[in-house]
Amino acid sequence: MLSMMEEHHPKKNGNKRTGNSGLKAQQELVRIEAQITRLQSMQGQSGDTPQQIERLNQRVNDLRREVASQLNAWERTELARHPQRPYTLDYVERIFTDWSEIHGDRGFRDDPAIVCGMARFHGEEVIIVGQQKARDAKQRIYRNFGMPHPEGYRKALRVMKIAEKFKRPIFTFVDTDGAYPGLHAEERGQGEAIARNLLEMARLEVPIVTTVIGVGGSGGALAIAVADRVLMMENAVYSVISPEGCASIMWRDPTKKDLAAEAMKITAKDLSALGCIDGIVPEPPGGAHTDHAQAAELLNTALQQNLAAIKHLPAPELLETRYRKFRDMAQFFEVEA
C-alpha cells in the first residue's frame, strides 16, 4: 500500500493463465462448439441434424449470457485480459476509416504501446489515442504488453493537442495493465508524464470520449482517460492497482487476487454505481473475444451516441461540464463536527 504501484508481472500471473482461462463454463462452451462442428461435418447422417445444431447454438448463446451475468470480479479481470479480446487497432479497423498513424513524442522515441492517429468516424475527422496490446510473443514485446513509457504519454498529449488545434474530437481507448514500472521509465519521468496529461486533458477544448475496452490499470489508464464521456465495456475492469498487486500488499499473498478484485470494486457495474464512469457498452454474449465484429458494432453505436451528445457544446460549456464532472466525482467523505 505504501507505494501505489502499477504492480504487474505479466509472466508470473494473470496473463499467463488467461490463455487457458480458469472459467469452467468457458470450457463447457468450447466442448459444445466442438460438438457443433462435428455435427456439421457429419452431413446427411440424419434428418434432424440441422435442428440439433440449431438447438446447440441456442444453448451456446444462453450459456454465454448466463455465464456473463454471473461473472465475479476476478473472472471479469480474466475476460478483460483475454488474449483474443479485441485490442485498440481491432476496433479502429472495424469502426473507423482512413486511419493514418502519427508516431513519436518529438523528444525521445516512438512508443508502440500507445497508438495515435487521424481517422474518420462516419465521415467525420477525429483523433484516436489508445494503448495497444498484442497477441504473439514478438509483437507483445514490441508493444511492451501494452504498458507505455513516458514518451508514449507525451506522444498522446502531443497528438491530442493537434486535435485541439484543428478542432477535431478525440476518442481514446484504454487497455493497459499500467504504465510501465521500469528503470528507464522512471528516469524519463513516468510520474510527470502522467500528471501532465491529467492536467492538460482537463482543459483540452475539444470533445473527448474514452472507452475502457479491456484493462484500465491505474494512473497509466487515467493518463488518457480524463474525458467528457468515460465508457467501459461490459467486461472491462478499471482499478487503482492490479488485483495481484493489491493482494500481495494487503493480504501479503498474491494468490488472494480474487478477494482483492472483489474488494476493490473494479467492474463496469461497480464503477457505474460509484459514479466514476458515464456508461457501459454491452458486449456480445460471452464477451467481446467471441465476436470481434459484433463487439465493434456495439461500441460503434455507443461512440456515436456519446459523441453526438457533446459535440455541439461550445468549448467553455464543455470544459465547465468536464471540470464539474471530475470535481464532483468520488466525493466519499463526510463533515465531522
Binding site: 501505489m4 513516468q190 502522467i194 501532465r196 491529467l198 492536467l199 492497482i241 468520488a330 466525493q331 466519499f332
Partner: protein, 282 residues
Amino acid sequence: MTWFKRQSGHLDTSGEKKVRTEGLWVKCEGCRQIIWKKDLEDNLNVCPQCAKHFRIDARARLAQLLDDDLYEVFDSNLVSTDPLKFVDLKAYSSRLQAAKKDTGLKDAIINAHGKLNGRPIIISAMAYSFIGGSMGAVVGEAITRAIEKAIELRRPIVIVSASGGARMMEGVISLMQLAKISAALARLDAAKIPYISVLTDPTTGGVTASFAMLGDLNIAEPGALIGFAGPRVIEQTIRQKLPVGFQRSEFLLEHGMLDAVVPRKELKPYIARALDFMVQAA
C-alpha cells in the same frame, strides 16, 4: 582511545534498521550515529552529522515554513466514509480509527492559511504517519479545496507531499482524485497563481503522477525517495538490482525531473525567493 571507537562501529550492525532508542536518543539511519534528540530537533530534524533528512509530521512542517508558528487550519473536519467497505486482513474502518487515534488527524492532510516571510500563503501538508500518507477521497477533496481557496483569494499555494500514493482501500475512488486535483491545478495555472510543489520522503505512486509533479516549481528535500513505481516493483519487473541512489532527489535532479534539491533549512528562504519572483506587486 582507539578501541573504544572500533567497538562502537560494530555495535549497530545487527537488528532492524528502524530500531530507535526510546526517549532522548535517536539513531540516524544515514550515518548510524546516535544523536541526542534535542540536537536533532534543533536542527529541524536533519542529522547534524550526515545531513540525513528525517521524516517530519505535517504540523512540524507548517511550523517550519510559516512565520512564528502561526497558522489557521481549514477543512480539517473531513472524514472518509469507507465507500467500498473494504476489508483485507483488517477492516479499513479500523485502520482509519487507529490512524486517527495515533496522529490526532482525521486524514493524511492539513490545510492551513499562514504567512511566509510576511506574505499570505496557503499550505497543504501531507501526513505520512496517517496510513502512509495515502490519498483517498478526503485527501483529494482537501487538496482540491486548498487549490480552489488559493484561486479565490489569489494566494500562492505550497503543497508538501509525503505519500505512498493512492489509497488502495478506496479503490478507483482514490484514482479519480488524481484527475480531480489535476483539473483544479489547470484552473490555478490559468489564473496565474503560483504553485510550489515540495516533494519530501517519500513521494510515490499517484501523488507523483499528479499534483507533486505539476508545480510551477517542483523542489525536493535531499535524499527523498521520489518515483512513480516503487523500487520493489521495478526490481521484480526488470529482475535486476537497481543502481544506488535510484529514485532519490539527486537522481531526479540529474535526470531533469526537479527544479532544485533544497535542504530543509533553506526551504523557507527558497520558497520566499521564488514567490518574490512570481508575485507581482499589487
